[in-house]
């Protein structure tokens, strides 16, 4: 029984939740397992070889927030992009285009749904990885971590929305993911501190917005970061606002959806 009172977009938001919840084994359990594998392998290989934050933090502990944030980001992207492309390919996108939903309502319903998916997977990864380092539960700045998780998932959900609307076929979406999202995520410092990089790559990392999301999120766990969390917050919030404005303008023009 589906009972959602209020505005139409609330139902769309709820449908987006149901969509991934009905296949939660694939949308939640699978990414949690993947992250766990990353942790097992990388921490086993690198624990004794890599020193981060001048040796103040164990590598495994350092890695966990990175993996949590990576799961949040990847799953937020996956939710909007897969929902949109599936609806477009099967044609059932018409069900959300016919009702009187405004561009902003469409945007918030899809983005919020994807944020919930990202945060749910992130929490799942965090819960499982705590077993490796229970001390992480006493994070010194939980609000900082929450702020970056929310903003990061919103950014990736928005990117997923753009990619899902842009792509006409599944392989185009896969290209967007493999050539833009994955490289930016992997080169953002999930697995390493950028201070361990040669100067050129360190400088280049500063142009990657994903770096600030991960670095700011990690600050919430250790009170330590590669750049000031305020700078990261400013950059991440700026990216989020800019992407939101661009996407709303695209939806307003009916780009691809209402030709």
């Amino acid at each position: 029984m589906i009972r959602v009172a209020g505005a139409g977009w609330v139902t769309l938001f709820y449908k987006e939740l149901l969509r991934f919840w009905k296949v939660s084994f694939q949308t939640i359990a699978a990414p949690v397992l993947t992250s766990l594998l990353y942790l097992l392998i990388f921490s086993h290989v690198l624990e004794s070889k890599v020193s981060v934050f001048g040796g103040q933090v164990r590598y495994t502990a350092f890695l966990i927030p990175g993996l949590v944030m990576m799961s949040v980001l990847q799953n937020a992207f996956a939710n909007t992009s897969s929902s949109l492309i599936q609806s477009k390919v099967t044609g059932n996108i018409i069900f959300v285009l016919l009702p009187p939903l405004s561009p902003a309502e469409l945007f918030f319903a899809y983005v919020l749904g994807a944020m919930v998916r990202g945060m749910t997977v992130g929490l799942g990864v965090f819960a499982v990885t705590l077993w490796f380092d229970p001390g992480l539960l006493q994070l010194p700045h939980p609000l900082w971590a929450l702020a970056f998780a929310l903003l990061g998932s919103a950014i990736l959900a928005t990117l997923g929305l753009i990619a899902g609307i842009w792509a006409d076929k599944f392989d185009q979406l896969a290209a967007f993911q493999n050539f833009i999202i994955v490289p930016l995520t992997f080169l953002s410092g999930v697995f390493y501190s950028i201070h361990t990089l040669p100067p050129f790559w360190q400088a280049l990392s500063h142009f990657n917005p994903f770096f600030y999301m991960i670095d700011g999120f990690r600050y919430g766990f250790f009170g330590l970061s590669d750049v000031s969390p305020w700078i990261s917050l400013g950059i991440v919030a700026g990216c989020c606002a800019a992407l939101t404005a661009i996407t709303l303008a695209l939806l307003q023009r009916g780009w691809k959806l209402r030709p």
Binding site: I2, T11, L97, G254
Partner: protein, 307 residues
């Protein structure tokens, strides 16, 4: 009274194809209106513009007086649309599909109405079945149900009976007719001319993005009441070639204005020593009208545009 649908000088181009070219028409409240035309004539583009799925390059469209672009919320609330493709969301059951669709319109707790829809569409026993498990005809009925969840005064059906078996087609017709009797305005696009003839009070025929005929079904039938001659013969007299509507091998369909013309046709055949294998007369039906208009009887067609 405000027209249910008011289309004013709509034009739309897709790349090099002029899908709609200066189309205007008005459909009154309570009408049962047919939109006919061959594939690519612009029917689906026109109703997509009414539903806000496609934007016009020029011109405007109103549903119950609400502009589909400027005043889209009220326009969409007033319109229910059954798409041509058999689309569905495989994640949900029939009931969930209808509840979600109602929810998108901001409606909750209208279970009584949803039960009624399910009943009328003979879907009650399938209410909790997943959409994936339904036959094509059932999926089509769910699409009709989705178009009705918000009780729209105007209902647009884009080829609703395409690929639906005969029995179900009769049921759907009966249901749509009942909706019309209850006061809904119905706009139907169809390939089945007998369907349009049986149901529609008024008809617009589209060809290459333009309206080539717009009149009541009765007027169209009487205006083109001319008789069609089905002639099986090796050839047609030279003077009669312009009157050939259609040709399938040695079977020729010729249009006559009056029965009296038959005499001169027979005379011409005798004169040119053409042997008649078979000859039959066919009364006008919408198919004949359609063929005549589409084969380009320009003068008559132009006359038909002025109501």
């Amino acid at each position: 009274m405000t027209p249910a649908v008011d289309v004013a000088r709509i034009a739309r181009r897709f790349g090099r194809v002029q899908a709609l070219d200066d189309v205007s028409l008005a459909v009154g409240q309570g009408e049962f209106f047919g939109l006919l035309g061959p594939n690519g004539a612009g029917k689906t583009t026109l109703i997509s513009i009414l539903a806000g799925l496609v934007r016009p390059d020029r011109g405007s469209a109103r549903i119950m007086g609400h502009d589909v672009v400027a005043d889209y919320r009220l326009a969409r609330r007033a319109l229910g649309m059954v798409p041509q493709e058999l689309v569905f969301d495989p994640f949900f059951t029939v009931r969930e599909t209808l509840e979600l669709q109602a929810g998108y319109f901001g409606l909750a707790g209208n279970d009584a109405w949803i039960d009624e829809i399910l009943h009328h569409l003979a879907l009650t026993t399938k209410a909790d079945a997943n959409m994936r498990s339904l036959s094509g005809g059932m999926k089509r009925r769910v699409l009709v149900g989705q178009a009705l969840v918000h009780k729209p005064p105007v209902i647009v059906l884009d080829e609703p009976t395409a690929g639906v078996d005969v029995e179900l087609r009769q049921n759907l017709w009966a249901f749509i007719r009942k909706l019309n009797q209850d006061g809904h305005t119905i706009i139907l696009t169809t390939h089945y001319l007998e369907e349009a003839e049986a149901l529609c009070g008024r008809i617009a025929m589209l060809k290459a993005g333009r309206i080539v005929a717009l009149d009541s079904t009765r007027n169209l039938l009487s205006r083109f009441a001319g008789i069609t001659v089905r002639l099986v013969a090796p050839a047609v007299p030279a003077a009669w070639l312009p009157r050939v509507l259609r040709r399938e091998g040695s079977v020729h369909f010729l249009g006559l204005e009056r029965h009296a013309e038959l005499e001169s046709l027979l005379a011409a055949l005798r004169e040119e020593k053409i042997e008649i294998a078979e000859l039959a007369l066919q009364e006008a039906d919408l198919e004949q009208v359609f063929l005549r208009i589409m084969s380009g009887e320009r003068a008559t067609a132009a006359e038909a545009v002025t109501p």
